[in-house]
């Protein structure tokens, strides 16, 4: 935890343990967390005119934000995980609702989830949105790249395959050839990516 003083921490011991485990890459901890808070979020979304699919989307998005923050170690929780997740998902769902509805949206909140304000969720979500935009641009750039560059780069960077495997899979004569090809692809990707990304930013 980024907080030094355990006595003043509002986190419960299980929260702490969970965060430590998740940061360590423990998939079961994440699954446990996922299962623990799903009813809350699903109830919230269903209560506020959402469907099961909406609830699942929103919840996964929320958990993703949380998970990525935990993995970078940049998470600064000032409340329980439950409250944080509730705040994040609430915010996400509110955004979707407002974009769908012509009128102002008022959400029905569960009293028990209390003060969902000041959980830091707002800023984290802003950062996450920026990240999403970057990923969207990346996905776009990859789509424009064309084969075999796209598969080559995805194989290497996304799926962590070794150069040897890729050389064999793409039928290059040797690993250096494959590597050269990969760098050329990378240069093209860079052009596509940065042009789009900067276009969108301005």
């Amino acid at each position: 935890m980024s907080r030094g003083n355990p006595t003043s921490s509002p986190l419960t011991p299980t929260d702490d343990a969970l965060i430590v485990a998740i940061r360590g890459g423990d998939e079961r901890a994440l699954a446990h967390l996922y299962r623990l808070h799903w009813p809350m979020v699903s109830h919230f979304v269903l209560q506020n005119s959402g469907t099961d699919d909406d609830a699942q989307d929103v919840y996964q998005e929320g958990v993703m934000v949380f998970y990525e923050k935990v993995r970078d170690g940049s998470l600064e929780l000032s409340c329980q995980i439950k409250t944080y997740l509730y705040a994040v998902c609430r915010r996400l769902w509110l955004k979707r609702l407002t974009s769908k509805s012509r009128f102002g949206v008022r959400l029905l909140d569960d009293e028990e989830h209390g003060p969902y304000l000041n959980t830091g969720a707002e800023e984290d979500l802003l950062a996450a949105e920026e990240q999403d935009r970057r990923f969207d641009t990346m996905s776009e750039a990859l789509n424009h790249l064309g084969e075999p560059c796209r598969s080559l780069l995805e194989g290497f960077y996304l799926h962590d395959k070794s150069m040897q495997d890729l050389t064999a899979a793409f039928g290059y004569t040797n690993a250096d050839n494959a590597k050269n090809q990969k760098y050329k692809c990378l240069v093209r990707l860079k052009k596509l990516f940065f042009t789009h990304y900067k276009e969108e930013s301005t």
Partner: protein, 392 residues
């Protein structure tokens, strides 16, 4: 000259820590010295980092999806789920959240309600607002129409509602004090009280009782009815003289009361008979002031409780002399009724008699009531007090 791809190869080797000592130091020095190269390196790291993070995100997303599926599969009652098939999500949420086990219709209703809550709220408030403003507006409009003044307005309304069918019209004080133009009562049929003036068939009532009348019907204590016509009205003093026009009418006989020409004294005990309802009603009190509403000297103020329908009734003193004609009351004061002084009646009759009408006015000079007990007086009196029904 190195191509960009060559630089990328170099950068990657550097980032992975594959560069040997001197080459590494060389690159670091160049990065520090050459901003263009440093920028290129930054782009490279950003690109590869984004690529890796993107890959990771996809992976996590996949992971979460499978977690969701396993969670649902684990939570669902096993008996209903054939092995290996993913259960339908819709069924399952309800078992995850027992509270949400609601019927399809209810769900639809809830969705509708949630979706249109704001709209319906606005619509409802607009409706409520419209209803109330209409009611209020109507109220104001009616108020403005019936009475411009604050006095009497409430009572007139009550009058109209109450006596829709029957009775009696004690008009509001304002009417007879001539502050406003005549406002006929809304009821089609209204009524007041009247009493015999001469034995030949002249009657007295209040002007506002017969105001706007199409026809006037006089009904006695014994239920006998006569048609009557207004002979003269004095709006200023709220007096009207009627004459019975029926052929079969033979005369009242001798009147038991005399009409006082002078003024009565303050504090005298006085009483009246009238028809605020179907039956004759007796009211008693004292003469409480020798001037009327807003100091009008043509009127007495008396402390008799009067009601709509009492207008036009005779006001008598202890000895059975007629001293006034009940006219109205002040709404914002406790039992303050007003009666036209009999001296004005006498003066009016004198001026009418001077015109030599076909039927002469012979006012009763002597009363027969003095010395009788009050019930005796009333017994004699009641044959000479009438309901005046007015049809508009």
């Amino acid at each position: 000259m190195m191509t960009e791809a060559d630089y990328y190869a170099l950068f990657e080797a550097y980032a992975l820590g594959e560069l040997a000592g001197p080459a590494r130091a060389n690159l670091e020095a160049r990065l520090a010295a050459d901003p263009a190269l440093a920028l290129r390196y930054a782009d490279f790291t950003e690109l590869t980092d984004t690529l890796r993070a993107y890959g990771q995100r996809q992976q996590v997303r996949q992971q979460l999806k499978s977690m969701h599926a396993t969670m649902l599969a684990a939570d669902a009652p096993e008996a209903f789920i054939p092995a290996g098939t993913l259960p339908e999500t819709g069924q399952l949420t309800s078992s995850v959240n027992p509270i949400l086990r609601i019927s399809r219709t209810e769900r639809r209703l809830r969705d509708f309600w949630n979706g249109h809550r704001a709209t319906m709220g606005v619509a409802a408030s607009v409706a409520v607002l419209a209803v109330f403003s209409t009611l209020l507006g109507l109220e104001w409009w009616r108020a403005a129409k019936t009475q411009p003044s604050m006095y009497g307005y409430t009572v007139l309304r009550r009058e109209v509602e109450r006596i829709k069918k029957s009775q009696k019209d004690l008009s509001i004080t304002l009417n007879q004090f001539g502050r406003s133009a005549a406002t006929p009562p809304v009821a089609r049929e209204s009524s007041g009280t009247g009493f015999a003036l001469t034995s030949e068939g002249y009657l007295v009532t209040s002007y506002h009782v017969i105001q706007g009348a199409d026809s006037v019907l006089v009904e006695g204590h014994d239920r006998k009815r006569y048609h009557a016509e207004p002979v003269y009205s004095d709006r200023k003093h709220d007096l009207a003289i009627l004459r019975i026009t029926d052929k079969k009418f033979t005369g009242f006989g001798r009147l038991p009361y005399a009409i006082k020409e002078g003024e009565a004294d303050l504090g005298e005990r006085v009483y009246t008979l009238g028809f605020p309802r179907e039956d004759v009603v007796y009211g008693e009190g004292a003469l409480s002031a020798r001037s009327g509403f807003k100091g009008d000297t043509a009127f007495y103020q008396v402390s008799i409780p009067v009601n709509p329908g009492n207008s036009g009734g005779p006001l008598l003193d202890e000895r059975g002399n007629l001293i006034g004609v009940v006219s109205g009351r002040q709404n914002d004061a406790q039992s303050a009724a007003f009666a036209t002084k009999s001296s004005y009646l006498v003066r009016l009759v004198d001026s009418l008699a001077a015109a030599k009408p076909a039927v002469p006015y012979l006012l009763p000079r002597y009363g027969q009531l003095a010395g009788n007990s009050r019930p005796q007086q009333l017994k004699k009196l009641q044959d000479y007090v009438f309901v005046v029904k007015v049809f508009e």
